[in-house]
Subunit: 235 residues, 4 copies
DNA sequence: GATGAATGAGTCTTCATTCAT
DNA sequence: TATGAATGAAGACTCATTCAT
């Protein structure tokens, strides 16, 4: 019973902190860092402005806490996927799927992190880059695996691939999540990997262009020609 | 004499405006919109703070002017390329080449536009989106042309391609332009189009998945068939 | 058992109060009234901030308590000196000696009292002035005694003397106690009373000015007179 | 005429600055540094609060400006006195006279400087100490001159004398200037120098006390005795 | 007796923008 | 055209103090 009493106090504090954090996410998301007033966060959370500073050191401290929460969730999910899937390509698709879902929930705060990071040099930036490095590192590992696997060409640069993938996703998210309509993540993944894996070029084009360069096509044609001749002759 | 006076005045005004704009670009680029003070711009330009507001309506007005200048230059260059190149793929490469060079000069202000656009709903946003639409529209047109051409698969989505291309470029620019070392644009373009056109997958991998759809497989089948015939004959 | 509990509680409370008071002295001394935060006092004392207000009405209440303690100690010492010494001059020297020692221990809090008193009109000021009046009154009494005694000139103003003495001491304390090196109180007392009792002027200088009033001159005149007689006789 | 126009602008700024400074003196004097709000200063001066920060960098900047003004006036006056008076004692009296008059006008701000200096470690403290050193240095020089002169005893410590003089003056100022009644500076100077030059002791006391210690008296008595004997003998 | 949580009332300082000259 | 002066509207953050437990 005595324990319950004490817990009640702690519980109260925890609730306040959570409420403030939640309000902060909403308002930061909508208005950006500089556009958000701590007073508004407090009001939205139902507490006095000073209470914000009781639970968080700074306005920046709020962002830091939000960031930590977001990336913890993201990494937890990713690790589960990696632990339960073993094929590289499957992992890739599952991770992107998961990332897109998380991004769909929190793209506005990710956008917040990015904007802050661009014009700041302090702890916030470092934290953000650290989280990012950790997360995108998972993909690099998979890409390298797929190269070792001979699934991917060995002349493909893993970081280039990562940049293309995340660049594409970010671009997509910013462009599509803004709208009210829920985007079709499945289609996006399919299209993205279709190009990422097989390229945009059509067969006929390939034979004319790249295949000419790789020589495979020419050799095959030569073989066919030779075989045809042989055939005729033999006939 | 009266004319001269007026001309002199106009000239003087123009020079002030240009100086302020130039200073604004520098400081906005480095510190972002909210982080920049009009007083600092004025100081850097060598004019009084109030002179800034003599030539520009607003702090936002400065950004608008910068944006106009940037996109005018970008579009002018692009149009020259389009007028002097006729092959779709060549246009694509030339445009990206040009875009990267412009971006290398002004990526920090593009970043500025983007961050402002995210948390603003006014004229700045509209202008930015309008400029963007106009520019990326050029690419959409080319992509469509390449599809009509049968250079690109018909199941490829032009906007998806555009998103991938610009997403990749943006990601690359943000990641690489920050550093002092000048990045190798040629390598980047090569790698990017290599994947965009032909995909990341290796041949052996392709045989399992897409090769069935590509012509290589068919040719190999043909060869096998021919060989099979030979075999029979030889038997 | 019940009694023990209560005693224990009282004991506990007393200990907390003392700890807080002690911490308050340290921090107030170093940072002044406005520069000190109650939270810091609490932290230094090892208690929660709210506990400070359990034992003291106010931030000002802390100062009041410190003041009471300081002056109680000072007066107790002074009264012992007065009770055990009977010659006015000796009392004076002993009191100053004692005061300087106490001041050396607590000059920073005396300084605190003084600064607070200057910009406050409430209880703190009154208490401080009352304590001061009581203490310096001891000196006035001695000065008056020394005048009645004919030890001091009757045209000397007792309060003027008190002001000079305390002014000098305060000036000395503020100037010398700040440094780490322990000042030589003995030398200071000697020098101070030397000037206070006999003045700064040298004998030769005195002969021109005040010596006429002092006996030395008369005696020298007598000598001269006598010598003059001798001279005449010898002639 | 054109000049007048420009001057008008500058004049306006000067007037504002002066008004703010004047208001700041009043309010700082009454309420101390921490007790004063910049908003109140502005209100009293008839300007917006932000105008205060247009003319002064800081709240501290106000104090610094006030200090500069005060000490400039003080030093200017002192230097005139030193340039027009040549006898050390006269200089001393004239300087103290002048100092007291200045202090009577501005004792509250001097008190302000002192209180700030006690709990601050920044520029304000340094400036204050520097000004103080410069001013009291004038007195040290005079004291040394009077010692070289043999007007003062050579065993008198110049800095001790300075401390006593300024300690006394400060004590007097704080004690007497607070009251509405204008204090009699002439009487104070007379009394102070009377004790500082000749000491508090009466003649009879001197013969009994210090003279016994100094031995002068004894020697004179011995001479008298000897001469008396001689006289008797010779008679 | 002790305290964690909460807060109201500041407080200085910033900065884009206006305006008279 | 150019600007010095002036300001209103914030805006983040502080801190002594209260109170329920």
């Amino acid at each position: 019973m005595g324990v319950k009493k004490v817990d009640g106090r702690l519980e109260r504090g925890r609730r306040a902190k959570a409420a403030i954090l939640s309000a902060a996410i909403d308002i930061f998301s909508e208005k950006g860092f500089d556009g958000t007033q701590t007073s508004e966060i407090a009001r939205a959370a139902g507490y006095a402005e000073s209470t914000v500073f009781l639970h968080f050191k700074n306005k920046h401290g709020l962002v830091l806490a939000i960031m930590q929460d977001f990336y913890r969730g993201l990494m937890d999910g990713a690790n589960i996927i990696l632990a339960t899937t073993h094929d590289g390509e499957e992992q890739l698709v599952a991770l992107v799927q998961h990332y897109l879902v998380e991004l769909l929930k929190g793209w506005r705060i990710v956008r917040l992190f990015a904007t802050i990071a661009r014009y700041t040099e302090d702890e916030t930036l470092e934290q953000f880059m650290e989280h990012n490095r950790a997360y995108t590192g998972l993909y690099i590992d998979i890409f390298e695996g797929l190269k070792a696997d001979n699934t991917f060409r060995e002349d493909v640069d893993a970081r280039q691939l990562r940049d293309m993938l995340f660049g594409t996703i970010e671009h997509y998210a910013m462009a599509n999540f803004t709208r009210a309509s829920s985007p079709d993540i499945g289609v996006f993944i399919e299209r993205t990997f279709s190009i990422l894996f097989y390229g945009a070029k059509s067969d006929s084009s390939l034979s004319a262009a790249s295949r000419n360069e790789s020589g495979v096509d020419k050799k095959l044609d030569a073989i066919l020609a030779l075989l045809g001749d042989q055939d005729k002759k033999g006939a």
